[in-house]
Each structure stands twice: as C-alpha cells, then as structure tokens.
C-alpha cells in the first residue's frame, strides 16, 4: 500500500518535472547554450529556473528535517558524502564540458527523447551506456552506502 503510493508520487513527480523542464526552456539545447554564452548573446533565463527550483526545494528540505520519516517510505535517504575532493571537481568539470558541448544535461535529454531527433537519441543512449559502465567500474552507490555505514558508527 505504502509502496504503491510511493510509486504513484514518483510517477507524478516525473511528469511534473518534465513539464517544468519544458516550460522553463531546459529542453532547448540552444537556450541552455545561450545561458552559458555569457560573453555573447547571453540568455539569463536558466538562472531563474534555478532560483525557482532551489527556493521551493529549500522549503521542502526544511519541512523534511522536522519529520521523522517521509510520507510513503520508512526513512529519508539523505546524501552522506560531504568531502570536497578532486573526484568531485574533475567529475563536475567533465560534466560541464559535455553540457556545454550539447546543451543537454541528463533530465532534459530523457524528456527530449520523445522528439526522436537523431542526435538527441544518440546522446541519450551514449549517456545510458556510459552510466551503466561507470557503475560497473566504480560502484557509485557502494561509495554512498559505505559512507552511510561509517557515519552511522
């Protein structure tokens, strides 16, 4: 019962997320690149996307911190990594290069697959295969769970 409600919330969230990405302009690679084009025809719109999203989410975080548990799960899975290391910075730097190159980050790419634009589909599948390979090689989730075990002691 709880898990079916959790699943319904997740699906509704995905729909709303897609609508937000579409309305905000994040699913237009040219607009994303224009946001990054600060020395040219700069389009600051995406800054307002961040302001709106972070503002609402910060309220949700404050609410969540007062609660012992979420509505339809047993506990909050807060991220446990807090270290700022070379891996974080190098990873974010590489991600930014790919983002600037294509104008797509993962969410908008997943939403935009429906456009069936060939280059978008190629980007999507390359991303999926790369994520799968990276998980197999590095075990991203194991790193998180190790950290949570450490912090639990």
């Amino acid at each position: 019962m709880t898990s079916s409600r959790r699943n319904a919330v997740a699906f509704a969230s995905g729909l709303l997320f897609a609508g937000g990405l579409g309305l905000s302009g994040m699913t237009k690679p040219a607009k994303v690149q224009a946001f990054l084009d600060v020395t040219g025809d700069w389009d600051p719109s995406l800054m307002l996307v961040m302001v709106g999203a972070i503002g609402v989410y910060a309220v949700a975080v404050a609410v969540a911190r007062r609660r012992a548990a979420p509505l339809y799960a047993t506990s909050f899975a807060w991220p446990t990594l807090s270290v700022i290391d070379a891996r974080l910075v190098v990873g974010a730097a590489l991600f930014g290069v790919g983002w600037g190159l294509m104008g797509f980050c993962p969410g908008p790419a997943i939403v935009s697959v429906a456009s069936l634009a060939p280059v978008t589909v190629v980007f999507f599948f390359t991303l999926a295969i790369t994520l799968l390979a990276m998980r197999r090689l590095l075990g991203g989730r194991d790193r998180e769970s190790e950290a949570s075990v450490r912090s639990a002691h």
């Binding site: 949700a60 339809y72 969410g107």
Partner: protein, 145 residues
Amino acid sequence: MTLTNFTPLASLAGGVMIGLAAAMVLLGCGRIAGISGVFASALTPRKGEDGAWRLLFLGGLVVGGVLLSLFAPGTLGAPVTGSVGRAIAGGLLVGVGVELGAGCTSGHGVCGIGRFSPRSVVATMTFIATGILTVLALHKFGGAS
C-alpha cells in the same frame, strides 16, 4: 553583451514546477531527485531493493516528454549540432562526469544547493564554469552550432 530570448516568467514558473517535483520525491519517497543518480541506479538494479519508484519517476519524465512532443512540440529542441560524433562525445563526458562527481544539474544544482550542501555548491559552480568555457571555445574555434 546583449540579452536575447530572455523568458523570465516561464523560466521561473518552470523552475517552481521542478522544485515541486523534487519536493514530492523528498517528502513522498524520502529520496533525492537527482536524475543522473536515479537513472544510473535504475540501470543497475539490486536484488531485494524496491527500486520501482525510480522506474516510475523516469517513466514520468519520458511520458511527460511524449506529452510535450504532442501538445507543445516547440518546447523540445534538438541539439544545435547535427554531428553524431559530438553527440557521442557529449554523452560520454556527461556520463563519466556525473558519475565521478556524483550528481548533475538536478542532484547538485537544485537538490544539493537546496539543502545548502557545500559539496554541491562547488560542483555546480564548477560545471557552470566549464560549460561557459566550452561554449566560448565552440564560438572561438568554429562549430558554434
């Protein structure tokens, strides 16, 4: 510097929707709506773990995209480049980057900054900076498109 195609209201409203969607995942499911992490975890399911919410969240994104393509096709733009090689390079860079850095625009940029995580602030400043440099380089060395 000139401002073109600035859409403050639509972008702010879209941002609020994104924030609400991420809030639903947090308050309903107790999870972080970091799309790269959800996607990667959904691709590598584990026995004994109820990962159905991930598939449904991703399914919502895909179905949302289909609805946009049907009722607001102008919202889904194709990459400016038509180069398959660049799409593969972009997919590799984004995939390797978000896994090493443990997050993308949603996980670090929205959820991480939204809970004032210094790690996510550093990640977000870094990927915006290298994104800016990349677009600058595209303009400078041709193939701006």
